[in-house]
Structures are given as C-alpha cells and as structure tokens.
Amino acid sequence: MAKKTIRTIPQARTPMPEQPPELRVRNFDEVATGYRQEDALVEAERCLDCADEPCVRGCPVGIDIPGFIRALGGRNFRGAYDVITDTNLLPSVCGRVCPQENQCEGVCTVGQPPSQLEPVAIGRLERFVGDLAIREGWANVPYIEHNRFKVGIVGSGPAGMACAADMAKAGCEVVVYEAFHEPGGVLKYGIPDFRLPNAIVDLEIDKLRALGIRFECNTLVGRLFTIEQMITEMGFHAVFIGTGAGYPSFMGIPGESLGGVLSANEWLTRCNLMHGREFPNYDTPLQPGRRVAVIGAGNTAMDALRVSLRLGAEQVMCLYRRTAQEAPARAEELHHAEQEGVQFHWLTSPTELIGDAQHNVRAVRCERMELGAPDASGRRRPVAVPGSGFEIEADTVIYAIGTNANPIIGQTSGLQLDKRGYIAADAELATSIAGVFAGGDIVTGAATVIEAMGAGRRAARAMKAWLGLRDAASIAGGDGADEPARRLFGLPRGEHGYARLHL
C-alpha cells in the first residue's frame, strides 16, 4: 500500500452524530451519540501515521495514538483497545471530556498549516474504542505481581483514579478514599449525564476495582483520620492527595445570600449526583428556575446553563465580563450551548443581585464592560463603562467563576501550603511530608479532567521511584544511580524500600 499523504486521505473530518438541539434540550441523554463503526473506520483513514507523532507528546498521559488508530484502521478493535489501555484505563471518559483541540488534535500533523484540513478526530476515535470495549465486556487486567507496599489515595476523582490505576498495576495494595457516598468525584457530581453519563463512570470504576483497587466511600480524610495517621498508624507507605479545588468563589457583591443564588457546584451536584431532577422520587430538592442567569463562561458555566435548559427554564443566560474570544469554555461547549438556545450576554458584569419581598432573587444589576489593555493572564482586561447600569430579570443566579483551595487537608495536616492555600508540591508532585504526593486541582487550582489524570500519573511515577519500585518507564535510581552519593550501604538508594523509624 502506498504511503498515505495529506492529499490521499479523506479530506473532511467525519462528523460526530448528535441529537438535534430541539430534541436534546428536553432530555439528559448524551448530546454526542458516538461514532458508528463506519464513521470510525473512515476517520482512522485520515491519520497519516507520521514519523513525528506530535499527538503522543500532546497527550498528557502519552497514549500511543498512531498505534491505536493503526489497529483500528485494520479492524483490529481489540488491539486498538489494548494499545490505549497500556497507558489509559479510562478511554470512554477521556474520549468525551478531554479538550483534545488543545492537546493531541491541536498538534496533529493533518491539521497543521499549510494544510487546510481539520485534524484527525482522535478523541472521537478513543471514545469509540472505549465504548466498544464496554459493550463487548473487554477488560485488560494485567498480570500483577504484588509487592509489600500499601498506597492510600485521597479523593476518587480523575487524579486519584489515574494514580490508583498506576500504583495497582505496579503491584501495590491501593485504597481510595472518597467523602461522598459514591466514587468518581467531579466526573459524577459535576459533569452532567448529557456530556458524560454517570453509568459510564461507574463502568470505568469497575475496571479499577478489577485491578484490585478498593474504594472506601463516606470517608472524609483529614477529619476521620489525618494524612499523618495514614502514614504512621494505618500502614500506608505512600499517600496521594487529589481532593480537588472545591471551595466555590462568589463575587462579594450585594444580594448573594438571596434565595435562588447558588454555586454551579451546588446546582450540578443537586442535579447530577443527588438526582434532584427526579424529585420527589429522589429526596434532594432542586427548585429549577424560569429565568436562569449563569455568571462565568467556562466549561462549568456551560454545564450549568445546559442543565438549566433541560430542567425546563424558559430563558437561560450566560453573563460574562469579556467576549466570546476570551471565554475559557471549549469551543464545542460554547457551540452546543448556543445551538440549544442559551443567550450570551458578553461584556456584562454583575454588580448587585436584587431580591423580592420573599428574599428570593428577582434581577441581576449589571454594567457594560469594554476591553482595555491585556492583564497578567494575557487577556484584555474588562473595564466598566461608566453609567451603563441595567437590570436583567432572573429568578435563579448561578456562580461559575472558579474555585478556591479547599481548606480541609490544610486544617488537619502539617502539609506546607502555597500562598493561595493550595498544597505545595515540587515538580515530581512530592509534598513537604515524605511519602505524601499531591496533584490535580488541589495543587494547581481549577483545571481539566485530563490534566488531573496526567498529574495523578506523574505522581504515581514519583511514588514508584520513592518506593524503589521498578517502572517500565524509568529505571529505578535513574541516571547516575552508580554515583557513590546516590548509594547507601553500597546499594542504589532507589533500589530498595524504606523502613520508617519512629523515634
């Protein structure tokens, strides 16, 4: 077969089948229904299998992307699944929620100028393979040779799941602690079913259980026992903290305690994890509004907006102080929200929430903004236009303007925190307590699911080195292990485990 070139591959990116907007705003089923086999085979043809493989470097977890697409193109679906699960146990999750346009697809050779083509739809192909594996009941449980190490993971979200998987595969006994009554973290309480069904998350978690990972829910680490107790009393040789940023920000403007004003986290948790949308069959109340205003324009804001539409709101508005160009949400999310009927009020900043006689919110007082000089983030700073105040009627106001550091681990441990209250960690994600690693939003502040997974895996690598475990990706001890300074009693320091002495 002749080598594929940019001219011989199918030119158009295979579209993702979707529920039509007018239908999907009335249900919580998935918007993107997934590639059919014929879609996947055509799209797989578009990969040039280039020598450079920029996509692999663009992937935070380094999936062998050309490898799995090659197998897929050859109709070796199981083989494609095997390639992906070598590095990523959660293809059905990542294929759905990764911002591929900034990662693998953003650097894909097919999409690079001077080419006029769109990049290979890597995320859609990954999801196709992951979903097929679920339907076929495939699971790749590697042979695991158990070692004597016990690893504790705090938080069962994407960072914790990724770290847990790697440590279990390395042979450690792994226990994951979760404060909620179900594992999954933000994948469960935050991301709505129409983007990532909770049933898919549960199936992926079952795969982690098949590796021998134990999930302990209803466990608030810090308060039920401390990080220090895990190391000193509970027999954990290493601990990973991936508790997420969770402490939603408000603006501090008047009226924020009015009824009907809440954080996107609360809104989404009531709807997704607690099934408030099925009230009274489920007991958690939700009180959907008729006119909903969401402040912020990130992915969480898009989720809150689209949930509101599906709960039957008549008018759903996005208020953002900059413009569509600066909005942090993925282009696809903005597009979906727009298709479904969300009204965008760009260059609009709330200054006050106005209540009615029952202390419920009835309107948002806003002012117009214009973009001035770029600020520290490189985005042009919004500046209020004097005298531009106006009101927008709303009976529900949802804040999706980011989060602050959750204080629980800081309150209950001696871990060093950074200036903003997040856990201080070095490049290897090691914290100030030996054997304790941290990653994801609790270290970096709010980011994406795949970045958290990448951090979980990076921490797992460091943890393996610290425990002296051999790792296919890095030889224990690393470079210079033979230097005298790197040896203890004649042995490379990285080659053996630690005994913790209590004096």
Partner: protein, 288 residues
Amino acid sequence: MSDFEIVKRADYSDVTYLLEVRHPAMARAAQPGQFVIVMEHERGERIPLTIADYDRERGTITLVIQAVGKTTKEMQQRCQVGTRLHAMVGPMGIPSRIGHAKKVVCVGGGLGVAPVYPQARAYKEAGAYVIGVLGFRTRALMFWEDRFRACCDELVVCTDDGSAGLHGLVTEGIKQAISAHADIDEVVAIGPPVMMKGCCDVTRPFGLRTMVSLNPVMVDGTGMCGGCRVKVGEGVKFACVDGPDFDGHQVDFDDLMLRLKRYRPTEQAALAEWQESCRLRGGPGHGH
C-alpha cells in the same frame, strides 16, 4: 469502615428520637462541636446532624433527631435497631475550641440540647465550672436532664409553658446565670437560629463571648458546594469547613433564617406527598 448499623434507639417524645450508630473509627475521631452528614436510603437527601455524643469504647456515634421534615420523619419510621443507614460521613467541621474558660454557660434549646452536651462535658473535663441552661417547649419534651446533671455544676431548665423549671425561654435562664455569676468567661448556645439570636442579644451588652453552632442547608459538607455560606462579621463563611462554630455576636442570624427557608415549599410538598403515600399503603414502614 463501617456499615452504619443502628445499635440503639430511644424515643423521647413524639418528635424527638435518639439513634446510636456503630462507627468505631468515627467514634475515635469525633470531637465536641462536630457533625455528620447522613443518608437514610440511596435515594435520600444528605442531611447534616450535629454529633450529640460519641462512645470511643463502644465505637458508636449518637444522634438526637427531631422529626420535622420528610427525611427526619421517614428516619423516625424506618431507623430501628438492626437496620442500617445508607451513608454517614464525618466527623465534619472544626471541633469546638474548649479553651481555658473557668466558668461557662452551656445553653441548649430544643434540638440544640443534645449537641451542646459534648461541649458541656468537655468543659467539665477541662476543669471549668459549668452552668447548663436547657430550654424545652413543655415538660413532655424534656430529655437528658440526667446527663446534664452529671456534668454541670448548676442546671437551669426552662419551659415555654412553665410546666417544669423556670417559666420562660432560655434567655431567662442566661439572665439568671449572669446575675448570679459576675465571672462568666464564655457562653455556648446551640438551638434554632432564633434562639441563638436571642441568646446573643442577651450577652452582647455584657461583652460576653458567645459561641453558636450553625446548621444551614448543606449538600456535601466538605466545602465543595457553598450552600451553607453564612454572613459572619464583614465576610462570608462556609459553615461546613470554616465552622460550624462562630462568634455569635458576628453572625447575621436574619440572613441565616431567610436562607433556611429557601427549600421549604418543595420540602413541604415532598412531605405531604410522602404522608399521602404512607396513608395509601396502609401505614408506615414501606420500602422504596
């Protein structure tokens, strides 16, 4: 960790009941002032309840619950010895600071009587002179007088109708304690917001430090949802992770009371529907 088995139940009145739940790890960790979040069944809501007592030896957590809404009434029907809760997580919140106060007044009103008990006992163990002030609507609702007698140097019981003890609200009991003792260091008041507000109004003129325990609407209890935000002084705090104890003189109780009403219409509808379904199914004890 635990399967949340109920090992003891006691009923103090038509509305007040005690559940003792087996959870050895939590019994070891619990401190006065902390709370748990409970789910009775898998479709239930998560409700915060202050820990009324813990027994480290028996490995149990004690909750005293007032049946006021659908969830607490349903729990009253279904939670019997040998049954299990779907979930119980905790201990949550920052433990009460049991400082070096030499003389304290521990005030509990209605559903606040049980939660103030661990603090009264902790103060006693720390060597303080403890004056207990308990408020009930009427004699028939009284409970735990014996437990308080055992850890209080003085105990004032108040009833709204005068059927037992002092005729009047707990604020009368506090006034009495303040007039009898000029050297009170601290007041701890736990109960309905309107009661805590009344207590703070009494102690404010005396500049008497008054700690209150707030129990606003919560979902996760870990700081993630922000539903429990309360106005304290100039700032906004999350009761679940910044509290639940706050300096009562700084708390905006009017704001708290308005926020607590937010879900009342939906909750009342749920309660009415549930009671109707109980009636149709011929009585309590139905499953899902």
